[in-house]
Every structure is written in structure tokens, then in C-alpha cells.
């Protein structure tokens, strides 16, 4: 499984990479939104684990750009949003993309990894 982790907090980025690699996934990383968009458009990932608060743009912006390549259904399958925000506003917007949303810090690490690596249908 090919996964892209988009997260600007380096320790989180590297740790998630290691955790996912231990589970057998092939993991690439990006620290900012613009690079992530390039990578998504040029490569074919099975999953993109994307933080909302990035240095340059937001995770939502990344998803919007990905729409030029993927259908809404594919988008909802492709992205797993991770975020420290728990505000209703943010959650509502995430829901409009119909993808998985995980709150940082993860209350259950194993469950979080399961969601990142599973086929959608866990909704």
C-alpha cells in the first residue's frame, strides 16, 4: 500500500511513517501543502494522510486541488484527515468531503493506524 503523509510537525510525520512502514506500507512524506499537491498529481497513492494546518496552505486546499485528478468518491476514499481541531465548523467542512477524520492526539494508536491502512467502508 502506497501512502503519503502530509504533516508539518516533523516528529509526528516521521513517527507515523515508521509506524506505517512497520505495518508493511510504502510511505512517502511531505511537510507542506504545495509539494503534497505536486506529489498527489504526479504519483498514485492508495492513501493520503493529511493534516489540516500546514505551513503554507490548509489540508482542505490540498483536497480541492486533488479534485482535478479524482472524483468526489475517489477523494473520500483517498484522504484521511488528521487534525488537532475539534471545532464544529472544521468537522462540518471535513464531513463535506466524506472522508475519515482522526483527532490528534490519537486516543488509540492502533485503531488510528487501522483506519489509515484500511479500505474505506469503515465509515
Amino acid at each position: 500500500m502506497k501512502i503519503l503523509v502530509v504533516e508539518d510537525e516533523i516528529l509526528i510525520q516521521k513517527s507515523l511513517q515508521i509506524f506505517l512502514q512497520k505495518r508493511g506500507a510504502e510511505v512517502e512524506v511531505s511537510s507542506n501543502g504545495k509539494d503534497a499537491i505536486e506529489m498527489i498529481l504526479h504519483n498514485n497513492y492508495d492513501r493520503v494522510v493529511c493534516d489540516l494546518m500546514l505551513q503554507d496552505i490548509t489540508g482542505f486546499d490540498v483536497i480541492e486541488e486533488a479534485k482535478s485528478k479524482y472524483t468526489p468518491d475517489e477523494i473520500s476514499e483517498l484522504f484521511v484527515i488528521i487534525t488537532a481541531y475539534s471545532s464544529e465548523q472544521v468537522l462540518e467542512k471535513a464531513r463535506t468531503y466524506n472522508c475519515e477524520v482522526l483527532n490528534k492526539p490519537f486516543s488509540d494508536m492502533q485503531e488510528a493506524l487501522d483506519i489509515m491502512m484500511s479500505k474505506k467502508g469503515k465509515k
Binding site: K14, S15, I18, F19, A84, P105, M109
Partner: protein, 464 residues
């Protein structure tokens, strides 16, 4: 005749109470009064002006009323130019019976016009007189300049046409102009006092306390300039102090939230990488070290999460919630109470299903205030082993006690400690207990001070 001007002595708004000083008369009042009195027997203009200066509260309205002077029927607009001595600008007001337009302009221009009018002999002016000035006066006009105590004024009344003034009109204007000086003084002074009064009233209205006049004792009470004594009485619901207080809590809550967000990401990163290293490191000592690090990180995360929960409102508290709240208050007051032994005890058996219907933030605030007060008293006058005990009765009716072994409150001061602004601390606001008492009232209870051998003992009681 004399009593016509006496009405400037009455406070315009007696509703604010005797505590507010009444109007002062202008300083040169006697001189003005004499001038007015001398004039009034000479002209009907003076009668008119007396009535108008009584009726109007500001100079603009006064000028507007001048347009009603008998003989001025053709004059539609009054131009009132005023310069307060010392200022670099003057203001011109264009006044009709239904409109006002005002503009500031440079004092040099004002002075030029002032001098031009002063020098002119026959005092009627056409448009040529205005050449070189940036003033918009339509039609022919009559003008007079006045040099007053603090101000220089130019009064212009104009017609909306270009006909010349009649002889009657000119003499009416002359008559008015010859007596109007002192009335301008009075009306300007009145205007200033009304403004000042409004500012003071606004300040009083926004005090969260009612100003109450009392018989007074110069040792205990403050005296107003008017010679009366006053006391501040807490409003029943202490609404305004509460608002400031609640605002501060709101701000604090926001601050904590921001802090939580900023710290949560780095801490999560630390947590994850610590977990990985715990798994990867084989050497036992290093591995153990890593585990300590991981556990420290978990503790940091839980401190942050607890702090922010503290400021999230909830309306009902279980026994556990209350115990948690006490522990959090102890943590929050750590910096004030390092050497103080703090403990939490239950009074009697605890009802398992105990549920306190109360605003958790207010309850926390009261507890926080009482504990901080104890800590500060102990820090300043502590004995050998300073101690604060918080006791809770977790059955209805609910009781929360805060007891310390510090100096306690003086017997004579006991009834005063809940009063606003009463404090024995050098830098105290004297508001903590007053606000706490009002929060307690809002919760449907009250705080009582129990005099005991040594130390302070406060108890919050809430009705079930």
C-alpha cells in the same frame, strides 16, 4: 428680574442623587449678572436673550433661536464662528431652523475675518467682504464680532437673497449685538458644564456600585467636594463587576485553548517518537530512560487537557467532578502556595449519586478565590506549619469549606470583608470576596465566615 438667571444653578438631572455636585456658576457670574441686569431694563433684546439662554443647553441651539428674534423674519441662516483661545483651529457652524453643518478651519482665517468685521463701519456685508475667505455665506448678511473671556466669536445672520437689509433689521441686529455678549458667556459655560456633567454621570453609571449618600463619619467615609459623605453599595446582583469578571474568565479560557492547541502538536510528536524509541531501544537502561520520557509526556498532555476542561462550563457536577475541581484549584494555585500543606477531606459519607446542579465555572472561581486568599494570608503571616484544608459535604445541602491556620480575619473586620473594595492587602482590589459572594448568590447560596480560634474558615453553602 434678578431671578431670571438663577436657574443655571439647578442640576439638570437630579435623578443621579445628592451625591453628585450641583452646577457651579461661571466665575465672573456676578459681573455678568450685573451687565445683564443693567441691560435688561434697557432693551427687549435682553429679555429675549434671557429666556433663550435659559431654555437652551448649548450654543448651537441658542444661535438657532436667535433666528426667531422679532425683526429677523427674512434671515434664514445663522453662522456661528467660534475660536477657543489657545487652540490652533476654529469651528464654523451653519445653522438654520432645521439643519446644522459644522466644519473646522485654521485660526488664522478666523482672525482675519474677525479683524475685518471689527474694522468695518456699517456692519452690513455683501459677498465682496468675503473675498479671500473660504466661507460660504449666501446673500447679504449682518455680522458682529465678540471677544469673550475664553472665546472669540463671530455671529453672522444671513438672508437667502441679495436684497439689502432694511433699517429696522439693522437696528434690531444692533440692539441684539449690544447685549448678547454676556449671554454667550453664560451659554458657553453652561454647555461646558453639561458636557462635564455627562462625563461624570457616565462614569458613575458604569460603576458596578451604587453611590449612596450617608450621614457620614469622616474617619470611615470619603467626602465629596460638595461636602456630602458617600458609600459604595454593592448592587444586588453586582452585574457589572460580574461582567468584567466573566470577561476575564472568557479571555483566560481562550488563552488556555490557544495554549492547548499550540502545545498539543509538539507533545503528540514527542509522544509518538518516544513510543517508537521505547520499542527500538534494546539497552535496558536507555530503554527505561525512554519510558520515563514517555510517561512525562503523557503527564504534560493530561495537565493541558485538564486545565482547559476547568474553564469549560458544565451545569452539573458529580462527586468526582468536585474532587477533580479541588485538585485542579490546588494545582492552579501552586505558585502561591508552595510551602503550604493542602488537603481535601470529605465531611461525612458521600452520596454516590450526588449531583450538584451548579455552574462549574462559578464554583471553581469561588473556590479559587478562597484558596488564593488563604494562601496569601499564610504567606504574609504564616505560622510554623501553614495549612489549607478544603472540606466538602457531598450530600444535599452542599457545603464547601476552606480552612486555614493563618491569622484569620479581625473580629471588627468580619462584617466588612465581603464589601467591595475592602482589603487589608497592600495590593488588593478588595473585590475577590465581594465577587465570590455575588457568584454564590447566583448559585442560590451564600458564603459565610465562621469565627474560630485561629485562622480563617469560609463556608459556601448551596441550597439543594
Amino acid at each position: 428680574m434678578e431671578n431670571q438667571s438663577d436657574t443655571t444653578n439647578k442640576a439638570p438631572n437630579p435623578g443621579i442623587g445628592p451625591a453628585i455636585q450641583s452646577f457651579k456658576l461661571p466665575q465672573n457670574y456676578l459681573k455678568l449678572k450685573k451687565q445683564i441686569f443693567d441691560n435688561s431694563s434697557r432693551s427687549r433684546g435682553a429679555n429675549f436673550l434671557s429666556e433663550k439662554s435659559r431654555a437652551c443647553d448649548d450654543s448651537i441651539e441658542f444661535c438657532r433661536q436667535l433666528l426667531n428674534y422679532p425683526g429677523f423674519e427674512s434671515f434664514r441662516t445663522a453662522h456661528f464662528f467660534i475660536h477657543e483661545k489657545g487652540k490652533s483651529f476654529a469651528t464654523k457652524h451653519e445653522i438654520t431652523s432645521s439643519s446644522l453643518s459644522s466644519k473646522d478651519f485654521h485660526v488664522n482665517e478666523f482672525n482675519q475675518l474677525f479683524q475685518a468685521i471689527k474694522k468695518s463701519k456699517n456692519r452690513t456685508f455683501g459677498q465682496e467682504a468675503l473675498k479671500g475667505f473660504d466661507f460660504d455665506i449666501l446673500g447679504t448678511f449682518l455680522a458682529r464680532e465678540f471677544a469673550l473671556g475664553n472665546h472669540n466669536i463671530i455671529l453672522v445672520i444671513s438672508r437667502n437673497d441679495f436684497l439689502s437689509q432694511t433699517k429696522t433689521e439693522k437696528s434690531s441686529f444692533s440692539e441684539l449685538a449690544s447685549v448678547i455678549g454676556p449671554y454667550f458667556e453664560i451659554i458657553l459655560d453652561k454647555e461646558l458644564q453639561i458636557q462635564q456633567f455627562r462625563h461624570i454621570k457616565l462614569a458613575y453609571d458604569n460603576l458596578p456600585y451604587k453611590v449612596v449618600e450617608v450621614a457620614g463619619d469622616s474617619n470611615e467615609h470619603k467626602k465629596l467636594p460638595s461636602g456630602k459623605y458617600f458609600e459604595l453599595e454593592a448592587l444586588e446582583s453586582l452585574d457589572k463587576a460580574d461582567i468584567f469578571h466573566q470577561e476575564r474568565i472568557g479571555l483566560l479560557g481562550e488563552l488556555l485553548n490557544t495554549l492547548k492547541h499550540e502545545l498539543s502538536n509538539p507533545l503528540f510528536g514527542l509522544q509518538l517518537s518516544a513510543e517508537i524509541l521505547c520499542q527500538e531501544i534494546e539497552e535496558p537502561e536507555s530503554r527505561q530512560f525512554m519510558q520515563e520520557i514517555a510517561s512525562s509526556i503523557k503527564r504534560s498532555q493530561s495537565i493541558i487537557s485538564n486545565f482547559t476542561e476547568f474553564y469549560t462550563t458544565s451545569d452539573s457536577l458529580s462527586a468526582k467532578d468536585i474532587e477533580k475541581m479541588v485538585k485542579e484549584v490546588f494545582t492552579l494555585t501552586k505558585s502561591q502556595s508552595r510551602n503550604i500543606i493542602k488537603s481535601f477531606e470529605l465531611i461525612g459519607p458521600c452520596d454516590e449519586n450526588f449531583l450538584l446542579k451548579a455552574n462549574s465555572v462559578w464554583l471553581a472561581q469561588i473556590l479559587f478565590n478562597l484558596v488564593v486568599n488563604s494562601a496569601q494570608a499564610l504567606n504574609n503571616h504564616g505560622g510554623a506549619v501553614p495549612q489549607i484544608i478544603v472540606k466538602a459535604k457531598l450530600r444535599h445541602p452542599f457545603e464547601l469549606h476552606v480552612i486555614d491556620n493563618g491569622p484569620g480575619a479581625d473580629a471588627s473586620a468580619v462584617e466588612k470583608i465581603f464589601r467591595p473594595f475592602y482589603t487589608t492587602k497592600e495590593k488588593g482590589t478588595g473585590l475577590g470576596l465581594a465577587i465570590s459572594q455575588s457568584l454564590a448568590a447566583k448559585l442560590g447560596g451564600n458564603i459565610e465566615y465562621i469565627a474560630q480560634g485561629q485562622g480563617a474558615h469560609f463556608v459556601l453553602r448551596l441550597a439543594p
